[in-house]
Structures are given as C-alpha cells and as structure tokens.
C-alpha cells in the first residue's frame, strides 16, 4: 500500500506531492531528499527507511519519483508502479522534464487520483485512463529538433533520411488537434541489449541477449495491429531449428493485451495498441547466439625496458560490411586516462563492419612488477548498433485495421545496445 507519492526535481524542489492515506507527514519529502543526497556509492538506494516510513524511488528524466509506505508492501510493485507512472506522464505530457511536470501539475494530480486510490493501485493503462482524464496537456516545446531525449535510439543515424525525426516520438498522445497533432504515426522498436563475456583466451564465455518489442502509438482509431515476426522464429531450447537462419530465443513474455491465437502457427502478434508506449513482447537468449559476437579484441600487454606498461589493442568488428565503405581511422577517435577509475577510456564514434582498429597505450605505472600485469583488464565495451538485431529477429510486416483514413506512417526501428560487453585479458 502506497502512502504518499511525490516528485522532486534534482535540486529537491517539490513538484508534486500527494498523500493517499494520511499516515505520514509532509516533512517526509525533505527527509527523503536529505537521505538520498547523503547516500554513498556502495549503498543500495532502492529501499530506504526512516523511522516507520519506507521510501522507494527511481530516477527518470532527471527527477526523483518517490513512493512511501508504512506497511510491509512489495517494493517490486512500487518500482513497477513508478516506472509505469513515468511512462504515463510521458504519454500524457510528451516528455519527462522538470518543466513539463511543473506545467502539467493539474493533469498529473488528476492522473494520480485515478491511478491510485487509498494506496491501492487501480490501473495504469493509458486506454482506460483516457475515459476519466479531463485536463489537457500543456506542451512545453511543441516540436523541437533540439530535444535530444530520444537521440540515443537512433545513434548517429539521426541526420539520415529514412528515420523518423527524433522529436516525433516525444509529444503528448492526447493532444487536442494541435498543429502537428493529427499525424497518424506508429513506432515499433526492436531493442536488444547484449551482455557478453569473452575470456582471456578468446573463448566466448557468456553471451546473453535481452530484447523487447516496444510500440508507441499515436493512432486514435486503431482497433487492431498485427505484427508479423520471422516465420522461423522458435522459442525454447528443445526445438531443433533445422537448417537455415532460424531465429531462436529461450524465453518470451508478452504484454497482457497481446493476443496470441495466430502466434503459434504464423508468428503473428495481435495487439490493440492503446495510445502511448507499451512493451508488447520481451525475450531472452542465453549463450547460443546465432552469429559471432560483434567485436573481438586482440590485446597484448607487456612491460617495456623503461618499466612502462604497454597495451597494444586491436579491435575488430565482425559485423557484415556495408556496401558503403567509410574511412578507417576516424579522426574523431579520442583516448583519455581516467586516474580515478584506474581506466583508459577509448572512444570511437563510428566503426563500420569488417573494419579493424588498433591503438597503443603507454602508461607510466609506479612500482610495476611482473605480477601486476595480471591485474590489467578487463576491457569493457559499450556501443550501439543501429539497424541490427543480434538474434536476427525481424518484423515481417505491420498491418493495421481498420485501414487508416488519411496518411499514416509506420516506423520500424532496430537497435542493439551493449549492456555489458566484457573482454578479459
């Protein structure tokens, strides 16, 4: 049972405060801010306790979203709820920022009133809530190319054509037929996160992929959407995939609203997309990747005669090369020593498939011994691969019914992120 919900700016200003059960005072807000700013790195910030009150919070859009409880409530429920709340606010207000929350406080209060009653969570579905919400959203910046909140998804491809403008997906779903409001758009994103461990001997020790299909819908009158996945898509380890490029995952879970009657035979997901964003499918694949991991590293570490540490790193990208070749050594590369983390940070803005980059780092380390070479490593990579899924999952088609009147746009985007890509030395 949630006792209070409040939203704070990063500086601790009260943006929203709502008390559901009248069992805790408003001073809890300041107490929370004191506690959260006093946390040290090693302490788990998830659940904090002050006297009889327990705080659960998340950070999104630079804001603290906090719920308190006095009972032995479930932190899972509360964290999930806060995540949904941020999604709802994002759906209704367009984006998450201090400004948009401030401007739409009346709307957010109204939302909170419908979403939680006496601490019991009622619903977080945008569709159901639409029937109750009266206040209209105030958009802070209706349409701005400088809004970079979604840039990460498209990576460097933002400037290229074929991609939806970044701000298109950051507007309120239920804006009144405003300037750009009537646009019928639907975004389907396939996002995969990859965690890989490659041993010092070059053997792949672990490779996991967590993926999800996310739909963001701006269609007011879409009753059914059919998403076709690869026909040879299979779930579970037992099924033998036979020949060819079967796409396989270990585990799959679906959003409650997804109907699966055509899934077993045709691999079609049927969704009635509610306006706003939702994750329709999540899947995982452990160990058995269909392709080799995208990056390999060939390191050599030694001590030179002057007692310096020499690190010669050769990094190869094993993705299929694109037809358009790019210059190899990008001039934008940079490297930097970060003494605080005891790490060297090597940044490569673009890395075409099939290419290879190398770097030589010379480091002065005091008291370097043969044994301390053992301490070097591991190498951790973070990257983003646009238009690529490592499981091979593809959206075969995207059909909407009834046929949308007027121009409608459907965007399908793929991206693979590194979650944790570690190469040991």
């Amino acid at each position: 049972m949630i006792s209070q919900v409040f939203i704070l700016s990063s500086k601790g200003d009260h943006l929203i405060y709502k008390d559901f059960r009248g069992e805790a005072g408003k001073d809890a807000v300041n107490k929370f801010y004191e506690m959260v700013t006093a946390l040290t790195g090693g302490q788990p910030p998830v659940v904090m306790k002050h006297k009889e009150l327990h705080f659960v919070h998340i950070r999104q859009g630079g804001l603290y979203w906090v719920a308190t409880t006095k009972a032995d409530a479930s932190p899972f429920t509360i964290i999930e709820f806060l995540n949904r709340l941020t999604a709802l606010v994002k759906d209704y207000c367009g984006c998450l920022s201090e400004k948009s929350v401030q401007m739409n406080f009346a709307l957010i209060y109204e939302l909170l009133d419908e979403v939680v009653d006496f601490g019991y969570i009622q619903t977080t579905s945008t569709d159901i809530l639409k029937n109750f919400i009266q206040t209209e959203a105030v958009s802070s910046k209706p349409f701005s190319l400088f809004d970079l909140s979604n840039v990460g998804l498209f990576g460097a491809d933002t400037q290229q054509n074929k991609v939806a403008p970044s701000a298109a997906a950051t507007r309120p779903i239920v804006s009144s037929q405003g300037e750009q409001g009537g646009k019928n758009e639907i975004f389907v994103d396939v996002i995969e996160r990859m965690s890989v461990v490659i041993g010092a001997n070059g053997v792949l020790m672990k490779a996991d992929i967590e993926g999800e299909i996310r739909v963001k819908c701006y269609m007011p009158s879409c009753s059914e959407m059919r998403i076709g996945l690869n026909e040879e898509f299979s779930i579970g380890k037992s099924q033998l995939s036979g020949y060819g490029a079967a796409v396989r995952v270990d585990e799959c879970s679906f959003h409650q609203a997804v109907r699966l009657d055509e899934f077993d035979t045709y691999r079609i997901l049927k969704v009635c997309p509610s306006q706003g964003e939702q994750t329709v499918m999540q899947y995982q694949l452990c160990d058995d990747l269909p392709t080799a991991p995208p990056f390999r590293l060939f390191p050599s570490i030694e001590r030179d005669s002057g007692g310096r540490l020499l690190m010669y790193l050769k990094l190869r990208c094993d993705l299929p090369p694109k037809s358009l070749s790019q210059e190899l050594s990008s001039p934008d590369q940079s490297a930097e020593l970060q003494p605080k983390n005891k790490a060297v940070h090597w940044e490569i803005p673009r890395f075409p498939g099939g290419a290879q980059l190398s770097a030589l780092f010379k480091l002065e380390v005091s008291g370097l011994s043969a044994a301390s070479l053992q301490e070097v490593g591991p190498v951790s990579l973070s990257f983003e691969l646009p238009k690529y899924t490592s499981t091979g999952l593809q959206i075969r088609f995207l059909r909407l019914s009834p046929i949308q009147p007027g121009p409608s746009q459907r965007w399908v985007r793929y991206v693979t992120h590194s979650d944790s890509y570690t190469i040991r030395i």
Binding site: H14, I58, S74, Y109, D208, Q374
Partner: protein
C-alpha cells in the same frame, strides 16, 4: 530549499487577488485560480484561508474544475473540520448524479476527507454506491470501505459494510473483486483472529477465476490474498499451483514475484516424489532469471529474494549459475548480492566455472568487491570439499600479486580453510609468512598470528615471528592481543625449552600492563593453568577444535520460513520479519509455511479424548541424551504406568503444542488435568534457543466454555538455554465465551521477552465435568423425558472389556444413577454436569459377552454430545 523559503511569504495581496478570481463569474478564470491555489499548496504555501471560496466553486458541472476543488478539499479538510461540513451536501448530491464518473469521484473524495464528523454523512451514499450499477462506482466504493474503516472501524462493523464487501468478492467485474479483496485483506490484518476473508475452496475458486481477468495490479492483490490460504491437502494445493503458474510469464515483475510466493508456499505441501513437483521446480527458474534483466533497482530487490529462495530450495536455480555472474557495469550493491548467491549455488558440478570467475573479480578495481570476491573463494573451499585444493592455489596466486588488501583478505580466509581441513595445506604457510610485514588490518594480523601459533611446531622461526609482534603489543587491537597471547602459550606448550622467556613476557604484558579485563582474565587463566598443571594446560589449550562448516552464514531456518512467506515484500529485502519494522498490529501476524502432507486439520485431532497417535511425541525427538535413554525401554514400561495413573482424570499424554521451530526456540508441550475440582493446565516450557528467555505471560482467546487462566503464568526464574520448566496453571471457567470449532478447541497466546506466539490445543471435555454432577433419580427421569428426542445421539464403543464401568466412570465425574437388567442387557443411567451448568444424560447398554457397548446421550445442547462420547471412549478403553 526554495519551497521552505517561500512558505512564509504568501502575502495578503496574493490571497486577496486569488479570492477575487475564485469568485469570478467566468468559469475559465475560476479554474485558473483554483489551479494557482493548488500550485501554491504543492510547494508548501499555506492557502487554507481560501477554504470557503474554493468550496464555493464546488457546485459546478465542469468535471475538471470539480476535480481540482476536491483535490484542495482533501488537503485542507483535516485542518478545517468545521468548514469541511459545508461540503457535505454537495457530496451527497453528487453521489446521486446520473454521471457515474461524478458519483465515483464524490465517494472517493469523501473517503479521503479524514474528518470524523463527516463519516456519519458518508454511510448512506456509500451504501448506495456499493450496490451501484456501474462497476467503476462499485470498485471505488469498495476502497472507500477500507478508508472508512481506517477512520472509524466500529462504524463500518455496525453498518454492516463488511458483509457487503464480502459479497463484492463474487462481483461480475474483476476490478471490483480485486479492490474488495484488497480492502478486506487490509481490514483483516487489524483483526488477526477474525475470519473476515473466509477463504475456503469455493471462494478460492472465485478468486482464481477473477485472477485471469483483472488488471495486473488486481492480480497482485489476489495473489497476495491467495498466499494466506492454507489448502486442505496436497491435491488442492496442486490444483491451485496449476492455475497460478501461468502468471509466471507475466511482464509485470510484481505479478511474477507474487506468483512465486504462492508457489513457494504451496509447494511445501506437495510430496517431493510427485511428478508435478519436479515440473513446478523447472517452471520457477526462467521467471526468476528474467527478473535479472530489469533495471538495477529491480535486480537488487530480485536478488535479495532469490537469495532466500536459493537457501530454501537450491535445486530451482542449480543450473542457472551463469546468470549470477557479475557484469562489469553492475552497480556495486548488485555485484555483492550476486556474489553471495554464487557461493550459495556453488557445487561440485560448477565449481571450476565459479572459481575462474571469482579469480577475475579479485583483480577488479573496486576494493569492497575485490575483498568480498577473495572471501568468496574461501567460502567455496569450505563448502565444496573437492575444490579446496584448487581454491587454495587460487588464493596463493592472488597473494603473489602483492596487492595489499588482497593479501590480507586471502590470509583471513586461509585461516578458515585450515580450520576446516586441518593438516592438509600447511605447505602454504611459508608463502604466508613472507607477507607478514604488509599486514596492517587487525583481522588479517590476528589470522596470521593464529596460524603461526597453531602450526608452531612446523615453523622453525615461530618464536621470532611472534616476538616481532610482541614489540608493539599495546598498540594492537584487542583481537590481535588476545590472539597473540593464545598463540604464544600454544608455542610454549609445543616448544617449552626455548620459549619460556617469551611466554613470561606476554603473560606479564597481558596481566599487569593491560586495562582490558578480557585480556587480563585470559592471561591469568593461562598463567594459573601453566603453573599448576602443565599437562592439563596442554589438554585445554591444544584441544582438538571442532571443524567449521559453511552453514554459519545461512539464515536461521525459522526466520527463513517466515521470510519465504513474505517474498516480494520489504521484509524480503531487509531480510527481517515484518514485525521488526512495521508499526502497530498491521502485518505483524507471523506467517508460516504449511507442513507437508497435512490432511484436513481436524482429522488429526478428531480423537480428542484419547490420543494414541500422540504417544510418539512423549519422546523428545531432539536426540539429546535423555531422550535416547528413554527411548530404549520407555514405550513398553512407562506407557501402561501412565495409563493407569492418569485415566481417572482423563488426561492426555503431554503433546507438543508449539514446536521450537515455530516459536524462535521456545517449545511448549502440555496436558490438562482436573485435580480436586480445579482444572489445571500443565505446561512444559523448554528453551531450545541460544539466549535466555524471561517475562513469560499467557492469555487465552475466547472459547466455548469460558476457560481462562486463574492467575499469571508462574515462571519466576529466567529460562536458560536448554532448560526445561514445568508449570501448572490453574484455570477458571468464568472467562468470555465464544463457540469454537471443534468445541473443545483452545487458542492460546504465550509471550516472552522475544515475541508473542500463538498455538491452539484441545482439551478433554471431561475436565469440565464437575463433582456435584449426580442427579436425583426423579429429576433424571423427568429431564430425560423433557429433552426432545431430536437431541438424542447414539454412539458405539467397540472392544471394551471392563468389569465395572461405573466405578471407572465415577473417577471422571460421570455418575451412575441407576442400573437395570433387561433381557441380559445391563442398562446404566448416568448424569454429567459441565462447569457451565449444562447437564448431559446418558444411557449405556452393556450386553454380557459383547465387547461393543451402545451409548445414548441426551442433552439440551446437543453439540457437546460428540465430545462427551469421546471422553467415554477414552475412559472406558484405558
């Protein structure tokens, strides 16, 4: 903070301006003004002065404006209770509005105005809304009952809202069901003994049906409610599990965890050889693994829960070791939790993999993490015997890196390895000794000194090494000082000739120059031992030490069981029972896992009066010495003795009422007896915990015959560990009365300094038979005729071989009034009077040569007949 600074600066001018705008005729202007008021309210300004003006805006058909006004009302009504009454009329009117949104809004807001005066006006509208045709209104009203209960519990009971709420569990709309369940669950928590939720197979079935249809949040309420149910048998528990399992693939991790909780609990009842048990185990693994792909916050919470699950049922995740491998970019709190789980899952099958990982971790940057990784290697060595050698060599590799904190951690764990595998890895001591100088942490120094002392005979220069520590004796921490003292004494006992001086030195340092009493005492003890009896000293100081085991860092089983019942909640994150951090009565009920293979609860106790199945419990199962001795010949010799002695009182053999497992180490067993007209409860309290128990007290719940303690529980001295005390508690029969099922059930609460424990037991009803229960013949005849025949019940007592039943029965205050013989049949007429004045009349038919007796019982309260019959059976057969 900005808000605080502004709080005192709402100037009169601003208020005045807002007032004017609030009273404006234009709707838009009004709305904007109310918005401004609420904005000020949020940042903490005091705008309560505007109360009447805002309330005036309430009567509007604009829903948006209405909602804003209600928002204001909820915030300020409590501070202005008199003015809040002004709003009541509008609320009552709104509850009749044709628009369901407005009806629901009104009833929701009214419940949030926590003013006592308003509650009486709330009742009528609430009653209507609970029966509203619109499900949105009904679900809001269901929550409102909980709100009202929070303000005025008595009112809710008096108005019968609880029954209406119970009806809503069968509502057609799943949302309404979910809210009704949530509200009832919360209300039930404040009445631990009431049967509000009344979970039975039918209602469970309804809940399971609603589970499939309602929203994810509703599913959580229902699952949490299901978790409180105890199925009757393993078949029911399996069928519930089958219907809950689909929830495991839900996208909402809170639903998944609640489902896991239900399954973990009900699994306890399934026989392990069942196929389904294995299937279920397999099904539990993937969802738990999926939880680890969430955000770090959720991951952390998930890991804390998995830590519990792994301790309870390691088999679920035994093949999933890899998912707990640490990722480079995990936050440190996630890393540490993962490490802990890795060790718990380590086994012979995966140890090579685990060790390779741990070795990697030991070279990372974060110091805390590295330390824990090194310790983990040691714990693996202790847990998986086959890996010990490999662990030791890994540790030696790490020592070679000469990284200071790695070396120190490694030495600390190697000491533990020595204690687990003595005389096996001493070859590494030489390497350890090389690093003596770099040790600057007390724990590592103490560990090293212990190693030197323990293996003094194999280290040539042990005396030099220890002497070097002795120089700065007074600057060391106590831990090191104590260790040094012991190590030098050990050395002396092993090599007495060359170390006499050293031991003198340390003894005088410890006894004369130290202020620390522990150190001084230990020094004196050694001194005296050495000077009086060196042989004894050797036996004491160099005695063989018990081996250590990996179980030391496991959560205590009783606590673990309780925590498993709280999977997914804060308790599972803190690893503390809810009673440790939740105030008041809410949530302090101690939950327990059901016992495996329990049949219907009354079957075991049906025999009430006689208790042949209770016999095994006489012998303590703990396997202590006394128990073993008794075990040899007790069943044959002692049992008959017991029977003849006690039958006249109709006593039960002592039964274990509260096992130590369930009461943090307190075991309670006992019997009932009637002595000289006084009912006695004979309790045996055994302390099986490690700490002393004090402050005992006892209380009974209301029961059928008003049994209550006639005095306090006389436990005057504290009960030490492993101590047992027998207490006799006289009972009176003038306590509060409530009919129990079964009739002779007694619910008892025992308190001590640790906690309050609840158990229930059954007493033989013969205890209540009073001494003046002999009826006059005439009265007997009249009464027998007077009691309607419907109240007569007949029973058979089989295999009875008695010469004189009546004498035997008289001992239990069952009085024979008359006897006549008809056609070879003896007819005995008997009367019994219960302590509460109820008379029971009996007719016993005994046929010569037939061991089966027939008994007819007549009583104005026919419910007692069954119990009385059981007493007859018990008395006659013994």
């Amino acid at each position: 903070m900005r808000s605080v600074m502004f709080r005192f600066h709402v100037c009169a001018g601003e208020i005045f301006e807002l007032k004017a705008e609030l009273n404006s005729d234009k709707k838009e202007k009004k709305k904007e003004a109310v918005k401004k008021v609420i904005a000020s309210m949020t940042v903490g300004k005091d705008v309560s002065a505007l109360f009447p003006d805002v309330v005036n805006c309430m009567q509007t058909d604009n829903l948006e404006l209405k909602k804003l006004v209600y928002l204001y009302l909820m915030n300020y009504a409590k501070s202005q209770p008199d003015m809040a009454i002004m709003a009541v009329n509008t609320f009552v009117k709104d509850c009749e509005d044709p628009n369901p949104l407005i009806r629901a809004l009104a009833v929701r807001t009214m419940g949030c105005i926590r003013v006592d005066k308003i509650t009486e006006y709330l009742c009528e509208p609430l009653r209507k809304c609970l029966k509203d045709e619109d499900p949105y209104v009904r679900k809001t009203a269901a929550v409102c009952v909980a709100k009202l209960h929070d303000i005025n519990a008595q009112l809710v009971e008096d108005q019968g809202f609880l029954d209406t709420l119970k009806d809503l569990i069968s509502d057609s709309n799943p949302m309404v069901v979910a809210n009704a369940v949530a509200a009832l669950s919360e209300i039930a928590e404040s009445h631990p003994n009431s049967n509000l939720l009344d979970l039975n197979p039918q209602s469970i079935n309804k809940l399971l049906t609603a589970l499939n249809e309602c929203t994810e949040w509703g599913q959580i309420f229902i699952l949490d409610c299901l978790a409180n149910y105890t199925p009757r048998d393993d078949r029911e528990s399996q069928s519930i599990c089958e219907r809950v399992t689909p929830r495991l693939s839900h996208a909402n991790s809170a639903v998944v965890l609640s489902a896991v909780k239900v399954l973990m609990k009900f699994m306890e009842m399934l026989p392990k050889d069942l196929d389904y048990y294995g299937t279920l185990l397999k099904k539990l693994a993937p969802p738990l693994v999926t939880l680890l792909s969430a955000e770090p916050e959720l991951q952390y919470v998930a890991l804390r829960n998995i830590n519990l699950i792994v301790q309870k049922r390691p088999e679920i995740l035994k093949h999933e070791m890899k998912v707990f491998f640490v990722k480079y970019n995990d936050p440190i709190y996630v890393k540490l939790e993962k490490l802990d789980i890795m060790i718990r899952l380590a086994s012979q099958a995966n140890i090579a993999q685990v060790l390779a990982e741990l070795k990697e971790y030991a070279t990372e940057v974060d110091v805390d993490f590295v330390r824990k990784a090194v310790r983990a290697i040691g714990r693996c060595a202790i847990k998986v015997e086959q890996s010990a050698e490999r662990c030791v060599s890994t540790l030696l590799d790490l020592i070679q890196t000469k990284v200071n904190y790695v070396v120190q951690e490694a030495i600390v764990v190697i000491k533990d390895i020595f204690r687990k595998y003595p005389n096996k890895y001493e070859s590494v001591i030489a390497t350890l000794c090389e690093n003596l100088d770099s040790l600057d942490e007390p724990e590592a120094r103490a560990a090293m000194i212990w190693i030197v002392g323990e293996y003094a005979e194999r280290i040539d220069n042990a005396d030099e090494l220890l002497e070097s520590f002795l120089e700065g004796f007074h600057d060391e921490s106590t831990q090191v000082q104590l260790q040094l003292l012991t190590a030098i004494v050990k050395l002396f006992l092993k090599k007495p000739t060359e170390t006499q001086e050293l031991v003198q030195q340390v003894l005088s340092l410890a006894t004369q120059d130290s202020d620390n009493p522990d150190l001084r005492d230990r020094g004196y003890i050694y001194w005296r031992l050495l000077s009086t009896d060196p042989v004894a000293a050797k036996e004491v100081v160099l005695a063989e030490k018990p081996l250590i085991s990996e179980e030391t860092d496991l959560i205590e089983p009783t606590l673990l069981e309780e925590l498993i019942c709280h999977i997914g909640t804060l308790a599972s994150v803190y690893h503390k029972p809810p009673s440790a951090f939740v105030e008041g009565s809410r949530g302090v009920m101690h939950k327990r896992l059901p016992a495996q293979g329990t049949e219907c609860p009354d079957v075991g106790n049906a025999a009430g009066g006689s208790a042949p199945e209770a016999a095994p419990s006489i012998i303590p199962s703990q396997g202590d010495l006394l128990g073993d001795l008794l075990n040899l010949d007790l069943p044959a010799v002692l049992l008959p003795l017991f029977n003849t002695n006690c039958s006249s009182y109709g006593i039960l053999y002592p039964q274990v009422w509260l096992p130590a497992m369930k009461a943090k180490g307190l075991e309670i067993s006992g019997t009932f007896a009637r002595r000289a007209g006084v009912i006695q409860m004979e309790l045996v309290l055994t302390n099986k915990a490690m700490s002393v128990m004090t402050d005992f007290a006892i209380q009974f719940n209301r029961n059928s015959f008003g049994l209550a303690p006639a005095g306090p529980l006389q436990v005057l001295t504290p009960l030490g560990p492993n101590q047992t005390i027998e207490v006799s508690l006289p009972l009176s029969t003038v306590g509060p009365v409530m009919k129990m099922d079964p009739l002779n059930n007694l619910q008892v609460a025992v308190k001590n300094n640790i906690d309050v424990f609840y158990f229930s037991c059954q007493y033989p009803i013969s205890m209540l038979f009073v001494e003046d229960g002999k009826m006059e013949r005439q009265v007997f005849l009249a009464t027998w005729k007077d009691i309607p025949n419907d109240n007569e019940s007949q029973f058979q007592i089989q295999d009875c071989h008695l010469n004189s039943a009546s004498n035997k029965l008289q001992g239990s205050n069952i009085f024979t009034i008359a006897k006549r013989t008809v056609e070879g049949q003896d007819m005995l007429y008997m009367s019994i009077k219960l302590s509460n004045g109820i008379w029971v009349l009996a007719e016993l038919k005994v046929q010569a040569g037939n061991p089966n007796y027939t008994i007819s019982l007549k009583c104005r309260a026919p419910e007692v007949s069954q119990c009385v019959f059981q007493c007859y059976e018990a008395v006659l057969k013994n």
